[in-house]
Symmetry: D2
Subunit: 508 residues, 4 copies
């Protein structure tokens, strides 16, 4: 537990200058045991966001004549001094948490000037404005990291367009229903990765949608009905903070919990895609599967077992989505939202390096792909094609074949025309030899040919996947331009705010 003294908490906590015991409303200081309890739930204050809002608010108040020009100028100069000291350091020094701006001004300039800051807004504004600013930063950072991740994955996929790999099913599910990881069919490693790329492309669309939802300004909504202070301009503050729109109902603006849920709605699916991939890779990197091996830098070892190379980064990434869900359920969903975005961004920043250094054991992949009857469905399809049988009949003949072969210790490579005929004769609803050549049988179950035959839209044939990679590369270009444009607009708004401050200071 923190070692701060009780005094510090009593006098320097949230809104301390309005909670002096016996002055104003309350007659007692906060109970020490309650202070101790609350510490555990203390959020890291969003000092930079409070600072930006404080500045924009004061510019507006001064421009609109709500506070005397000389007071406004004095405040803005003080904020410049605070920036020289370091915003976080200075605000921590004076206490007050979300109200650290007012605490600083009262400390530095006295009650008569410092006490003028907060007119026309509330603690609620501080919470909602800082939440909106924080979320837009998280989202844009996520977009940028996501782009780098997609790029690295597409490059990886390109290298493995021809790498045959098993396809397991029923598919993976991270949370909830567990793996079966049974051999189903075959694909290429590049194709497999492109499935995740396509998912991440859709995730970017969703991030853009929620970016627009946080780009609406709650500033000036106060605690839910705004203020009756004359000349107060919510539009001017919106502009100085770089928002694109304004809430048309202050009570709506104050219901900020909804907007952390918008973040979670996005984190829910995005983290699921990431964790889904690394849940697979965790299994793929066991000695038994041995399909891939992570670079040492993403691994840990053991204090007693000298041979242990634990793929801890894969585990960290595969746990992401579980934590996002748990945090969404806590009473303090704001804190959970901060942690979740941070984790997702940190996770995305790891992936390019992981993909670049990931060793794919190409031969092992191809060997496993051919070993466990993954071509059985294609053999059934060959029977349909060659003999015109109904699908179900062909399917059941091959099922019978697999049962016989396994019981006799035979492998797919051992199946001849005659061996298949034994199964066809045993199967009660057919009962005759099929007379297929061993060549047709073996071709149908050949992993590489299976992949190459699948030239249908969305299929794993290299020719198809290369087209999709080209499409994904084009989309990377387009999305890059869109994200940069958003970044630029935020930069311009920040400059506009500083210029407005300069203008006031100079004119004052």
């Amino acid at each position: 537990m923190s070692k701060k003294t009780e005094d510090e908490y009593t006098y320097r906590g949230h809104l301390w200058f309005a909670m002096r015991p016996g002055i104003g409303l309350l007659t007692e200081a906060v109970a020490p045991e309650f202070q101790i309890a609350e510490r555990g739930w203390e959020k890291k204050p969003s000092f930079l966001a409070y600072h930006m809002f404080d500045k924009a608010h004061v510019v507006m108040l001064t421009e609109q004549g709500i506070i005397p020009r000389e007071n406004g100028v004095a405040i803005l100069k003080a904020f410049r001094r605070m920036e020289a000291e370091g915003v976080i350091k200075a605000r921590e020094r004076v206490g007050g948490v979300d109200h650290s701006g007012e605490a600083y001004l009262i400390t530095e300039l006295g009650w008569d000037i410092g006490g003028r800051l907060h007119i026309g807004r509330s603690t609620g504004d501080l919470a909602t404005v800082s939440l909106h600013l924080a979320q837009r930063d998280y989202i844009i950072e996520t977009m940028e990291s996501l782009l780098a991740t997609r790029k690295a994955m597409v490059e990886f996929a390109e290298k493995h367009v021809e790498t045959i790999t098993p396809m397991y099913s029923p598919g993976l599910t991270v949370y909830g229903s567990s793996y079966m990881m049974q051999h189903a069919q075959v694909m290429t490693f590049g194709y497999y990765i492109m499935a995740f790329v396509n998912q991440l492309e859709r995730e970017l669309r969703k991030l853009e949608a929620i970016y627009d939802l946080v780009q609406i300004s709650p500033a000036g909504a106060a605690i839910g009905i705004g203020t009756d202070v004359q000349n107060f301009s919510r539009n001017r503050t919106m502009e100085l903070l770089g928002f694109d729109d304004i809430y048309r109902n202050c009570y709506d603006a104050e219901k900020h919990e909804w907007y952390t849920l918008d973040s979670f709605a996005s984190l829910l699916t995005l983290s699921h895609v990431i964790s889904g991939l690394f849940h697979d890779l965790l299994i793929y990197s066991t000695s038994e599967f041995n399909l891939v091996e992570p670079a040492d830098r993403y691994c840990g070892t053991s204090s007693i077992m000298p041979q242990k190379k634990n793929p801890t980064a894969f585990r960290w990434l595969s746990d992401l989505t579980v934590n996002v869900k748990a945090r969404m359920l806590g009473a303090d969903s704001v804190d959970g939202m901060h942690r979740s975005w941070t984790d997702v961004i940190n996770g995305l920043r790891m992936i390019p390096g992981i993909m670049e250094t990931l060793q794919v054991n190409v031969e092992r992949n191809e060997e496993l792909a051919g070993e466990f009857w993954s071509g059985a469905a294609d053999l059934a399809a060959a029977i349909v094609r060659e003999r015109g049988l109904p699908w179900r009949t062909a399917h059941q003949i091959v099922a019978t074949l697999v049962r016989i072969a396994k019981s006799e210790g035979n492998r797919p490579q051992d199946v001849t025309g005659a061996y298949l005929d034994r199964a066809a004769k045993e199967y009660p609803d057919y009962g005759e030899p099929l007379g297929l050549s061993t060549r047709i049988i073996q071709d149908s179950m050949n992993p590489r040919l299976m992949v190459e035959r699948r030239t249908l839209v969305g299929g794993p044939a290299p020719v198809r996947v290369r087209e999709e990679i080209a499409a994904s590369n084009r989309l990377l270009q387009i999305d890059g331009v869109r994200i940069e444009a958003r970044r630029r607009r935020l930069g311009e708004a920040a400059k506009k705010l500083e210029r407005a401050i300069d203008a006031l200071i100079e004119s004052g």
Copy 2:
């Protein structure tokens, strides 16, 4: 527990025709105790969705020459007979669950024709296609109900643009952090409701976004790499099912769990808005608050307490979002998704009637609004305006005033200029009389004037709220047209499918 016999389960369950013990792969029937266990988790099969997919698939197979034309025609005719019997009834009769189409055809037409249905697709297709069809139906029904709900809420708001009501804070939160419900300021009931209308307007935008995500066809992705059957057309099936696009990677298409999460991401925020409103109304309808009263038809009573009128529908609606979250966490998120959409749609269908019959106790609302010092912040603002004091000084003088008044049993109505001066003198950082007139003091704290003064953008002044109501009415028109257009396109696709069937039957 269900009373079905074990026999029924053994022989008629999912894929029974491919799981006959000793025929094909498996040598044993499913263990009876496992059948019993699974029953608890049985999902209601999406028979109508399977049926639509079965038909579109057969049309495509026949048109493309993948199955003999006479077989295709026989199958389509059989499906028409199934429709005459009733799709759900007929499919339940033959068992097979998701494979009830094949089960029906084998039962009615024999293995030789019935066994041809499933070529080129998998159980995976059945799951993903039916999930996509189900979700698009849910979403469009939700959109329609949401429109009706918004309409009823706007009409209600219009009636209560002038109804003064308390504003409580710190706001409500449904799940997680609890109510405080302390008197903060005042607003109107119409303004309060419009905050929820604005939220629901944004929810519609999100629903449109996920509608687009489910309008992508997974059909023909088979179990993750599509098929190698020649001439197979995923595009034709997409068209016949009314989808707008096609997954460009079959493995991506198969990872269907992502797409139930997209539903949950939407349900998460939408259900939260609904439950947030009714969590409030549940408290508002206690005898102590007595702000509103629901119509009897939304209430229950007690087996022993003759006076009890329990607002059970409010409770049901306020629980919605909790259930959505819990279901998202279960292993079977598909089942949870079905239940959650159903609940949300049912909930939305209740709201128009509730709003129409909700009795607002207008006098009680206004009385409570004025009773608990909700005008104190406006009194502080008046002191700033009249005497040029810093906000914080004025705020602390009024805090002192409230403390004195409460300890002496005085109410807001009792505050005179002289009484305020006592507080100003007691407050250590000021210490002088303010000399405000009683008129100014009383006007500042008058609930109706508080509301009327707030003409800022987003404020509760009736003149402002009427503008927002007009804007919301225009948006209702626009959204109505958009939803109808989506409905129409689905209707047209359904007709196209039937015409394609007609054409084949006639030509066959």
Copy 3:
């Protein structure tokens, strides 16, 4: 959705005889759209529990003279007729849900007699009494199934006391943090299973503790303060229902949600043990691990892939605990509690059969155990023992050895004294040859010897494990006797109730 008509719901739902529109308190019938919404959340009524409570309540009322003896006798005779018809069928027929007893009596005997049943109790009593009865049934059934499961697992362990198997780490975790499944050391399959047996032994202790918590009678607590009806005896009802104690505060008794949480607290850990085991077995049964194979009767297959043998029962069992947690979070935790107990009991009933038929691939287990350097820690221990080096030095020399060997494609079997010396010389903090014999090195890493050397308390040496198996067999005997005693006491209470009814009917 259910196909019941609205009429049925309007007139036959919960407490219909006290909710006739316009008669009594409420002037309207329940809104049809609310009825539809509620259907989705309908719980399966606990008719047999209501019935038992109804009978005990009437016996007490009659014995205490609270209702006229002739009325009491008429009611008890009617209940006997109901039993002849079938309790569930009769109660469904008359509607009323939890009040189906009163509904039946009013229907059969008229208002004048039927209307006397409910005196001195409430809907609350019906809920809490039936919850207590249901939970004690679930718990005792769980205990019995758990005993059978432990027995089957101990028998299985006995067969595999000598079966060498890999030990993977960092351990498994079902929900939340994922598998790593890296080779750590070696153990026997019997020892592994006994770890789960020990856990289940502790689970039984917890079940006994919560059994005692549900064996407290809430009957007569009414809605929270009991009744003022004279001569009312909560003690007599307690006795007739077979409870062991009585709540000493009726308001406490009414807060039933706590008691479903007691169930969940138990289900939380018990389901986790079960799912933990089967999460392992799911991985163990992949083709890559191939350590075990389930019997066909616990598996499914595929509609297109003839080779697929999906271990669906393992998956079902490994999902158990996820569902328990999700249900605990829903608004209707009572419903979730019913489902969770049912699943856990069904799951436990499956396990004996699974263990009996589970095929362990003994050779494959032993082969994997020796393959991936699982003896490296024991080689380090041998160096400490033979050369007196610090543990950390020995550990790092072996780490260096493994790195060199892997890079050169050597396996544990290839390590000679000279090869180890290369590593010792390369390791910078030692730098000299160790001079160990190849024999010592190979013995240290021999999987069977590794196991046999571990004769410490809790170790995997067969001699130790056989002792623990004997201890677990003794505990099975003891626990069996304890469970039977509880069953017997419930049976005796049931007989006492019937005898009391007989006595009244005969005397009446």
Copy 4:
């Protein structure tokens, strides 16, 4: 984010002395971006627990001759120096996290002595032993705080045995299903609080049960099969750490996640009781209910609304259980377990002060109790008693009465014999006057008489509640003695460990 340099992380993290890049197994340092990501999930290390285990382990190793006596003595002396410096400070200084003991010894005494510490145990032991030690501390602190809480609540209840208060229903539920808070019947405030006391009495029993589960020693289980080091004594370490028993299967001992779930199972119900009470009090302290008022020291105020007195401590306590559940679902349930125990203990430490200073508005409580027809059920009971009517008939007559009275604006106090007769005549299944005296009617609905009449077991009559208070006081005595005994045993074990260290140092 932390400002530690990358160097610090690279070289001082968990197990740094076994992860030097290029020395031993791994060739690379941990990737910087992975280090950054992991920081967010860093747990506060349990340095004091590691320290206690390190000491006990070395004593055992030395006594058993596993490490040379002079090395053991040197290590124990170094640990004494570490204690002089401060255990946490010294361990933070040397890095190594859970392995900070070895890191310290290597730093202070060199590899040759320091490298001997870890023989025969693993990181797994460090995790499970420290988890067991932490949990037993948490549990015993919880027991002590719980005792103080119960004491304060019983004292509070004693003061309010006669304070009439409304009883609301259907009951409260913290998480999930929401409040209805409709007037049901009446009780006393003391009786109400005693219901929670009874619940907490049962919670202590559960805490004792899980205390026994964590008092089993996992020390020496290593990573799941123990060690093959000769003379190693798990029993001696158990004894020195003050455990009561030992895991009989090392693999069982290593599966520590189960044991955090045992903590959660207990926290789940305990936190629910606490939050349940404060969820009520949060509503009770609204201006509308106004039944209670917390002391200022448990409240906050507002930056703009001078009148705001927010009961923030009640809110904190009512959120407890929500956070416990959310944390149980995260991937890192160990971290969540630490936070949850800390919160529960902090919460319990607040309650005595809250109860002592809680102001109950006695008149307001009694006034509300009589106002909203809470006596209606007793009026029905009076009709049954006086006129021999069936309960249901009486119940419906009174329901009719309430409907008429409400529509005519009459209150319970206004009901006369004649007025009741109007209802009786209107009720279609009766239709005659009842002829009850106004005196009987008014007595039946008198809140104080309602309470006094309820002398049944578990009823709210003061005479009954005083008996229960006496019983709860006796139990406080008994439980106090039991908790002290546990504390004493832990103290004695700690002394035994120090004496064993002394003996070795002296003999060395």
